[in-house]
Amino acid sequence: MIAQRLGLGLLTLFVVTLIIFLGVEALPGNAAEAILGQSATPETVAALERQMGLDLPPHERYVKWLGGIFKGDFGVSIANSREISDLIGVRFANTIFLAVMAAVIAVPLALILGILAALYRNSYYDRSVNIVTLSSISFPEFFVAYILILFLAVTLGWFPSLANIGPETPFWERVYRCILPALTLTLVVVAHMMRMTRAAIINLLASPYIEMANLKGMSRSHVILRHALPNAWAPIVNVIVINLAYLIVGVVVVEVVFVYPGLGQLIVDSVRTRDIPVVQACSLIFAATYVLLNLTADILSIVTNPRLLHPR
């Protein structure tokens, strides 16, 4: 079953590259025009197109690129002839670092808040947690980011407003510099996961076996943690995984506000300059992230559910 899923995943990736390629081709202008900008003349554009191999017809360029991918060669950037694997490597590591950092804060926080909210359902605590997390998800990311910068960077001066990190930055320095972007992302993703945890548990609390547990005289927290939570894992894991994928592929706004050198900024720059090989490579990574994480979610929900683990 996993093999079939992986096969479908590969097919998805192929379709994604085709759509992206056609999409970028359909945009007005090409890399040569974008690089020369206002100083483009037909003559210099033609010369630059020859140097970049843009004078070939689109299908030839696509097939050539696809051939390279099968050999594990992402090719070189059209715009500055750098190896795409070099270009993406550091950036992807940065993106993963920020996503992991945000996840390490957000996932436990969301789970704890969600479980407590289910435990003290309809209390003032439950309502205030709901209000706070829902408001933070309702504001646009850049707004949340600016508010954090205003209070924590400009007024109090605790954290830097720029997430200025390089390959040589030591680990804890990196963590310190990334706190504001990680907090912003946390505020954005916590509500979804926390509400799902709460809803999934509450949904189960109406089941007869929970009633049974209550009648046996178990404490409320024991009922929720030992009896309800194991059965609620499947929907919660799915939501967590969707949010993890979002932390990797959807953070371009946060990257811009904090000037964080991640993949989002790279793909935006590349689309602007019509640097198709880079756009393709980035989209492949993003699509692969989604496919893999969804696969993980499916596997985890099977593992946590004995009925699916041992089908009759």
Binding site: Q38, T44, V45, A79, R82, L162
Partner: protein, 529 residues
């Protein structure tokens, strides 16, 4: 800002003369005394040391080190960090030698001989010689060149190394040639095989490249061997690309960077309140322009062009779009920062009646035209177009503003016959001839108004090789008049370059205005006080 306050500010900053200040305050009926120029801060001696961190709005992952592709502020100032040129525009606006010690022209201004400075070393230890200069220029020449500097080097029919001199032979005389070789695209790089070695980023300049991650950060260390002993004061430089203007402003106010370029005009008055930050402006040659295709209906009739020129309220545009940080233009691209600015030319102003008069001359009672705009032209271009529409309505002209996509604006909208009229931006050029031959000469590639004026083009060629100052001035003044009264381009305003620096930063009293941030040569001209 009241008009009086505005004029006072302008005079203090040296954008208008005392005489103009008096005349214009008299015109608004204010009785004033000329504000004192004294009391400006003392300028200390340069000090060495420190790490200077810069946040630049431009810069992208796709930037290359190939000098033919430099097109944004990041690549330009980064090139000035590590490279030198034959000549440079100094901070006082004069042309001085950099790698060239001196130069002389033949009587017809066709042959130029540059004598090179001796004993200058590249960062890799190689001594710079005439062959490097030749190779650096050849990098931009030839049919296969995709370089943006090709139009500058195209008139060079031959160049050769001759001992410690380089001899350029031009197809036609050009008295301004030494200015052209200061162009930021043409740094002197070490020759290698057939071409130059731009890949290793070695130059003769004030700083040595340590690391370069395009679109993120570039790090430099001072070149201990730098030949200018009184320049390059910082120990280290870190250049960051910070595309978002709010992020740039935050970084400056929290002290993480010492220089931000392209301040947000809308929030400038708030930034000014911060005591640790200085706002500095220079008024250079950069201008907004609105070129009309003079080969297309209805712009082929000069009366229509004049009607449109009188239908725009330039003052309102200056106050609304630039909030006063600039100067009104007079429909020609020569600014007060240029040598031969025609200051006696009558200033065109908003006059719906005159506009109606010209419409009548053109045999029209009303006019409806399309104006293409996108913020790719300049920030606020669409707003400016809408403002223009309101002004022109009073003169019976209906302007239909078309919002174009930013992508491909320079290829599909500007300078094509697809559109008759569009918004545009020019950074201007240090010399009159350079500006006119780039965008106003009949055969120029970027003649965005497709303007072919016989007398203008004759004067342009004649003035180019004229070595007599007075005659040359007369010619350029006449050419400015022709462009203003008969040309196809409207130049409503010249914009100022505005940057914010930490109050720890010091520099000479005067800053260059040819580019933003002290001619983009902050790296070697500024220091920590």
């Amino acid at each position: 800002m009241t008009e009086l306050k505005f004029l006072e500010e302008q005079m203090k900053k040296g954008w208008i003369s005392r005489r103009e200040f008096m005349a214009r305050t008299a015109a608004i009926g204010a009785a004033v005394s000329v504000p004192s120029l004294l009391g400006s801060k003392a300028y200390a001696e340069p000090k060495k040391g420190g790490k200077f961190v810069v946040g630049i709005g431009h810069g992208s992952t796709t930037d290359s080190l190939d000098p033919g592709t430099y097109e944004n502020d990041f690549s330009i100032s980064s090139s000035f960090c590590r490279n030198n040129y034959l000549t440079e525009i100094s901070n006082t606006g004069e042309l001085v030698g950099e790698l060239a010690e001196s130069w002389e022209a033949s009587a017809d201004a066709r042959t130029w001989t540059f004598k090179l400075r001796q004993g200058v070393e590249f960062h890799n230890g190689k001594t710079m010689d005439a062959n490097d200069v030749v190779a650096s220029f050849n990098h931009h020449r030839g049919d296969d060149s995709g370089s943006a500097a090709k139009p500058i080097v195209d008139p060079v029919s031959d160049l050769k190394a001759d001992g410690d001199t380089v001899v350029f032979t031009l197809a036609d005389g050009n008295a301004d040639f030494p200015y052209l070789v200061s162009d930021y695209h043409i740094p002197v790089l070490p020759a290698q095989d057939e071409g130059v070695d731009w890949q290793s980023a070695t130059g003769t300049g004030p700083y040595v490249l340590q690391s370069n991650e395009p679109g993120v950060r570039t790090v430099y260390k001072r070149n201990p061997n730098y030949f200018k002993s009184d320049r390059a004061h910082f120990d280290d430089i870190e250049m960051l690309t910070i595309g978002d203007v709010a992020a740039r402003t935050n970084a400056l106010t929290t002290g993480e960077i010492h220089l931000m370029d392209r301040c947000d005009i809308k929030t400038l008055h708030l930034l000014e309140r911060n005591k640790n930050v200085k706002i500095e402006e220079t008024s250079g040659t950069g201008h907004y322009s609105i070129p009309m295709r003079t080969n297309l209906e209805p712009f082929n009739d000069n009366n229509v062009r004049m009607a449109l020129k009188y239908a725009l309220d330039r003052e309102a545009l200056l106050q609304t779009i630039l909030r006063g940080h600039g100067a009104v233009g007079n429909d020609h691209p020569i600014s007060k920062a240029n040598r031969y600015h025609a200051s006696d030319l009558p200033q065109k102003s908003y006059d719906p009646d005159k506009s109606k008069f010209y419409l009548k001359e053109a045999g029209l009672t009303e006019l409806s035209v399309d104006l293409s705009a996108a913020d790719a032209a300049f920030g606020g271009a669409v707003d400016a177009a809408v403002l223009f529409k309101e002004h022109a309505a009073k003169a019976g002209i209906n302007i239909n503003v078309i919002r174009e996509p930013n992508d491909g604006y320079w290829s599909n909208v500007w300078n094509t016959d697809n559109r008759g009229w569009c918004m545009c931006y020019w950074s201007g050029r240090p010399t009159e001839d350079w500006m006119f031959s780039t965008a106003y000469a009949a055969d120029a590639e970027w003649n965005d108004s497709s303007w072919k004026h016989e007398e203008f083009n004759k004067l342009l060629v004649a003035a180019r090789s004229e070595l007599d100052e007075a005659k040359r001035r007369d010619m350029y003044v006449e050419m400015q008049r022709l462009v203003s009264d008969e040309g196809g381009v409207m130049v409503p305003v010249f914009n100022n370059y505005i940057h914010g620096v930490s109050d720890k930063v010091a520099h000479d009293e005067q800053m260059a205005a040819n580019w933003a941030n002290d001619g983009q040569k902050w790296s070697e001209r500024w220091w920590f006080a």
